[in-house]
Symmetry: C2
């Protein structure tokens, strides 16, 4: 299973994902490569692999990315290896990527679950970006305008979680993962041998 989570910058996605990932120790988190410099508190190999634009370009040439995208002059990419490795081992993988990248994943791989995190409103988003600091006023304006466009186009995602009340958003994201694991075909795969031996053999 592939879970793909996207959100406009400032939606609180990172904090939300951290909480939810604690709840599912069996889901592996895919660490992206980026050419953007680390923000305060971010660590190489944990939040991102921070690499040079030259190295990134090399990896693009080597087709090492499952998807990559450029945002505000910085590049972000998901290593293809981790998806292949995870899928061959039957482990669930969580991707935290932007909507350009998500679209590439959707076109390239089957069966992903696409979740979009929404801020309660564009005004709230602007306030959060200001409060976070580190961005110039014009970058904030750009991010809000990009968020507006992204939200309009994100209707092809499977789910939307509005990060208004944080605990509710955590509950919703958790619920989406639990529910996806209850889909018939997945329950069948996991439990086929436990339910009365030949019970499931006939129908699948």
């Amino acid at each position: 299973m592939l879970y793909i989570v996207s959100a406009p910058s400032g939606s609180g996605k990172t904090t939300l994902l951290k909480r939810v990932m604690d709840y599912f120790p069996d889901i592996k988190f895919s660490i992206s490569y980026t050419t953007r410099p680390p923000r305060p508190g971010e660590r190489d190999g944990k939040d991102y692999y921070f690499i040079s634009p030259q190295r990134f370009q090399q990896m693009v040439k080597e087709k090492a990315f499952a998807e990559w995208a450029e945002v505000l002059g910085n590049r972000y990419g998901t290593p293809l290896d981790s998806i292949r490795e995870i899928r061959s081992q039957g482990i669930d993988l969580m991707l935290d990527i932007d909507s350009q990248g998500a679209r590439q994943i959707k076109e390239r791989f089957n069966g992903g679950v696409f979740i979009f995190i929404l801020p309660p409103s564009l005004e709230a988003l602007k306030q959060r970006l200001k409060a976070r600091g580190g961005d110039e006023q014009e970058v904030i304006e750009f991010r809000v305008s990009k968020a507006r466009d992204e939200m309009k186009q994100a209707v092809w995602y499977n789910y939307a979680v509005i990060n208004d009340n944080f605990e509710e958003a955590v509950e919703q994201l958790k619920s989406i993962i639990i529910a996806e694991r209850c889909r018939w075909e997945r329950v069948l795969k996991r439990r086929s041998l436990n339910l009365g031996g030949d019970l499931w053999q006939g129908s699948r």
Copy 2:
């Protein structure tokens, strides 16, 4: 939204549903009509509407049921009125019906969420039926054999919840409902006016 929950007799569905319905006071529970006599503790108008076979037959003739089915010589039916009324008011409705009835609902109405509750195994089901009492040995054998058939055919349902650990099953059923409410089209309907005014107008 229509939620349809089915389960072999003895899967613990009733207890499970009661717990989950407490969590969602906004979901209305559809009370079925039946010709079967009440079990100890069951109340008319709360668990079922207990009616005579003649009255049931009359309602069938009047096309008063959204679905109806016969199990072990007893008939069970969902009143069409409650579905119509609920849908026109935009309220969610929970149906607790058998798989024959569920199939009729699927063919007749759009957009239902179909959930099948499974016992951990057929052996466990047999033990629960014995412990519940009230059924002859041959009725138990019949129920187990019917459960086997139903489980084989229930692959067209959207979700399967295995009632092995009760608390986990409650969590799964709750999660399915929460997740379904996070589907894009439903979030859009609920929130379209709250998210930045015209934000969603363009794309839908």
